[in-house]
Symmetry: C2
Subunit: 589 residues, 2 copies
């Protein structure tokens, strides 16, 4: 029999009609001559009633039913009695009097309950992922993800984008993160790489004249995993020709608007606020500021000058910064011990210490209060907009350390103090990035985004003189303190691209060896172009209000990059390795 | 300046308006004081006119322009003079009088012309793929592909499908084709495999209760390449719960209808014709029959019986078949020599020979005509529906050989005789497949589709007695003689799945070792379910009227599975192999 509708969608419009429903037994209440079953499907739950009055045979079947059995039932939809109405359920005003039931499949006892808020290990959830995904919150999370992709396809189609797939088996490029390699059988000792992004291919598609490209593309990075990293992740990937950075941002805003509407029914306001990278770092200590709350970083270089507090004075004399955040009403909320714990927290960002004062009616209190006379107290209060009862937290250090320490501290405290409205979605563009950033790991300047980012027009000359001073035609879109995506205008002229590689420390030869095939393309009438990529996993995570992208990926890897469900990766047959001319090195030396 | 519209879309509605256009120089005609430029973008070509009369500076720039330069121009749209109107172009009634031009990029001479019908090697086209893709036919082919995917997303969204991604880094399964492996860095000697299809994951999503899943999924097979094979290819992948095979077919027809409309503006008639696998093999000698023409295979076992032609008699006595196709009017079109060439053609299918007669007014002519008396001539003519002037081609052999030989010959001759309307799209469902097929390679029965296919209800018992007699709840959708896709109802009960593996020759242990993780899932309330996968590459190829899927893939591999553009696969740094605990075996023994 064909299903009439989903269990979760049976409502008063079906009153007194016969319906056919299919789903899973969520719960059974056996009152002897009356059995209630909650039948569940992806849309929700409906209450079935079995009774001799409706059908004796069905009642007898109902007696044998257990949780997670799969049923097909026919019955009449009836209004529940007044006392039995459940206003919290879509189907709470009705129930179904069953006169026919068929058990489509049985079920063993599941290793955990199929309900929200279970308390079981991630490993068990991943091993039985097909059961974990039955839980309503997981169903909802993946459906939000699907609504996002549907909105993306629709919006980009309407805006004349061409959906084009780029290869997953491609060439390894040493720049960037570690590649996943795929050995070739045809060419022993040769390897494909899984792409870290479709960057060069999408640029080539602009060279090919497609004008507007998009793809929802899987990307791969063999890196040590963090909370929101996965070996494979998904990008909403866009590229367009003949458009300025502002035009690309405007078009992206239309996309974000469409997604927020489709996925959550929310209207967001556009244009989205734009702030420069310099301003973001100065005011929020972060290139991905969370704008759902204030507590901005305030520069006190003027205000503390001459106060005579040595730590501050020396820092400023050495070209460093003194900054503070003001925790409104924080004086009573944080004990000395709690503040000292914060000191440990910020040490991970390289900060040597956290200075603090509590603002009183008369001035400051706390260990360093004595250093500030009335005049400096007034100046500091003015600069931080602080008043009695506030807690001021200072960091004095190199600009980068101050930004990181106070930037993260700001977020940490906002969470503790419940300053964040979980229902708010605060988008912001961070624009005008530096072209390069210094890498402590490599001890040299690396591309802040990637080597194909166009410098600001007036900064092209800096590539040959002071590359680290150059700013880029690049932009990140930030949502609630997460980098949702980023993009840039790209280099479309060979001469500029060559300068860029040189500035990155490539020899002419190595640039040619690795990227010659791409630079050759720039010789044949490459149009000006730019684009953007949005992280789909992160976007879905934020809209589903989860704190890990694993919660919006159907079959994610665990923190060791393995898949507990299938036990991948696994050993393979000797024949498979032989065909690939590979040997596994055993550590026996 | 923002572009007004695409070059190819400037028509009379812009008459006497100023427009801004961007595109590539397709052609330049220099008449000294008057220069015509054809400017091209993805939508087509527009004619620009440069003259002192409109702007001297622009005219001077125009003198320097070469093919494939990238321009931005401003000008006024004017009607062409009567004699200059080109009715074959969308923009053929207008031209643009340019008063401002900016060269956005220059171009070297391209290695081939950017136009249709070039005669250059595939290798060169792939090396300069970004130029090859500029050619209008390639632009059109990839845009048709994009229209297909857009229609798929739209239709499936409207039909409540959830778009869910499944892993690309997963577990190697020895059943099926050869896997591409991905070495794990974290677990030395362990490998992920790239999926050959999302089959088990999509079934698990049914177990997880998503009810309707789809994904446009990349699939990977490390096989020797044929004309329409690529190492990576794309599937439109569907799975749904609680539906019959017929309901799934009906839903798929809606999808095909939507795609044909969106991609080509064609209305196709539904329901699509269904024929059984047995009937397809009998009438067309193929499980993917091309229904755009007749020329069916006719069984002559009755008609030739007793005629006294030893070859036929012996074949029939040994349980074989005698079948023929009638080439209408073929008697004059095929010489003896040409018919003998066909004999060679069908030998590749194992046929020992091709018998033939020409039908004359009086009877038959040809080498074996003498064996047939008036009565048998009449019987054969009746059975083949042949009349004077036709050519009859006979194959006598085992059923499989007869089917293959005449099935392929039927298509070969139809092409030669121009019996195929290239504008026709003939869809057909081939249903009720055998569950198993005999593999000459493995010398045992293998799953005709895959081991998760549900037998017909009444055939489940055969799994334990005569598995090769069982038929499956499976269906292929065929378009113009190509298998466009296929699917089935799947096994949702562990006991049936276990029988299936046993019938396929798995020991209990090996079934458990390889698929235990999946069979465990069947224990927990798995719903009845089924699905289908359509080959997107092939679909796009057929709709774009190409004869190779490379023509509808932006960056395909060549016939040796390499990518001439980037030179993938490539050697990698020693450090990369070391991190993966791998050594390349050199052949020095």
């Amino acid at each position: 029999m064909k299903r009439t509708t989903y269990c979760g969608l049976v409502d008063k419009k079906y009153l007194d009609q016969e319906v056919t429903l299919k789903g899973w037994v969520q719960k059974r209440r056996d009152l002897g001559n009356l059995i209630f079953i909650d039948l569940r499907d992806r849309e929700g739950i409906v209450q079935l009633v079995f009774s001799q009055e409706f059908d004796q045979a069905s009642l007898e079947v109902a007696e044998t039913l257990r949780t997670e059995y799969v049923l097909e039932v026919q019955g009449f939809v009836r209004a529940r009695k007044d006392g039995a109405v459940n206003p919290n359920m879509k189907t709470g005003e009705i129930e179904v009097e069953v006169h026919q039931v068929k058990v489509l499949n049985q079920a063993k006892t599941t290793p955990f309950y199929i309900q929200d808020d279970i308390n079981v290990s991630d490993e068990l959830r991943l091993k039985y992922r097909y059961l974990d995904l039955r839980r309503p919150e997981m169903q909802k999370a993946l459906m939000i993800r699907s609504k996002i992709t549907q909105a993306v396809h629709r919006y980009l189609d309407e805006n004349h984008f061409v959906d084009i797939e780029t290869p997953y088996l491609t060439r390894s490029t040493p720049e960037g993160a570690r590649d996943y390699l795929v050995p070739s059988r045809v060419y022993p000792g040769h390897f494909y790489a899984l792409p870290q992004s479709p960057q060069l291919f999408k640029q080539l598609l602009m060279g090919a004249g497609f004008d507007r490209y998009y793809q929802i593309a899987r990307c791969f990075r063999d890196e040590d995993l963090r909370g929101d990293r996965q070996p494979e992740f998904t990008q909403i990937d866009l590229e367009m020709s003949f458009m300025t950075a502002e035009e690309i941002q405007e078009l992206t805003e239309g996309l974000l608007k469409a997604v927020m509407k489709a996925a959550l029914g929310l209207e967001i306001k556009t244009p989205i606020k734009r702030i420069s990278w310099n301003e973001a770092m100065a005011r929020y200590g972060s290139d991905k500021p969370d704008l759902r709350f204030e507590m901005e970083l305030k520069d006190l270089s003027q205000a503390v000058a001459g106060a005579g507090f040595k730590v501050f004075d020396q820092t400023l004399a050495n070209g460093g910064q003194v900054k503070a955040i003001a925790v409104k009403g924080g004086a009573d909320k944080y004990s000395r011990k709690q503040i000292e714990a914060k000191q440990d927290y910020i040490k991970r960002f390289g900060a040597k210490g956290l200075a603090w004062v509590k603002v009183t009616e008369d001035g400051f209190s706390g260990p360093i209060a004595k250093f500030f006379d009335e005049e400096h107290v007034a100046k500091i209060k003015a600069a931080t907009d602080a008043s009695a009862g506030d807690l001021l937290l200072f960091v004095a250090d190199k600009a980068k350390v101050v930004a990181d320490a106070l930037g993260y501290l700001r977020v940490e405290i906002a969470k503790e103090q419940d300053l964040i409205d979980p229902n708010e979605f605060a988008f912001v563009w961070v624009v005008d990035w530096p072209l390069f950033e210094y890498s402590e790991e490599f001890e040299r300047y690396i591309a802040a985004h990637h080597p194909f980012t166009m410098p600001n027009e007036e900064d092209v000359a800096l590539l040959e003189t002071d590359p680290h001073k150059a700013h880029a035609q690049s932009y990140d879109i930030v949502l609630n303190g997460y980098e949702l995506g980023g993009g840039s205008i790209r280099i479309h002229q060979r001469s500029v691209q060559e300068k860029m590689f040189k500035a990155l420390g490539f020899s002419e030869e190595s640039a040619k060896e690795q990227f010659g095939w791409f630079m050759d393309a720039l010789d044949y009438g490459f149009p000006p172009h730019g684009g953007l990529a949005l992280g789909l996993d992160r976007f879905a995570m934020l809209l589903a209000k989860k704190d890990n992208i694993r919660e919006v990926i159907a079959f994610p890897k665990n923190s060791k990059a393995s898949e507990p469900l299938t036990n991948a990766p696994s050993t393979v047959a000797a024949k498979q390795l032989e065909e690939l001319s590979l040997e596994v090195e055993t550590n026996e030396e």
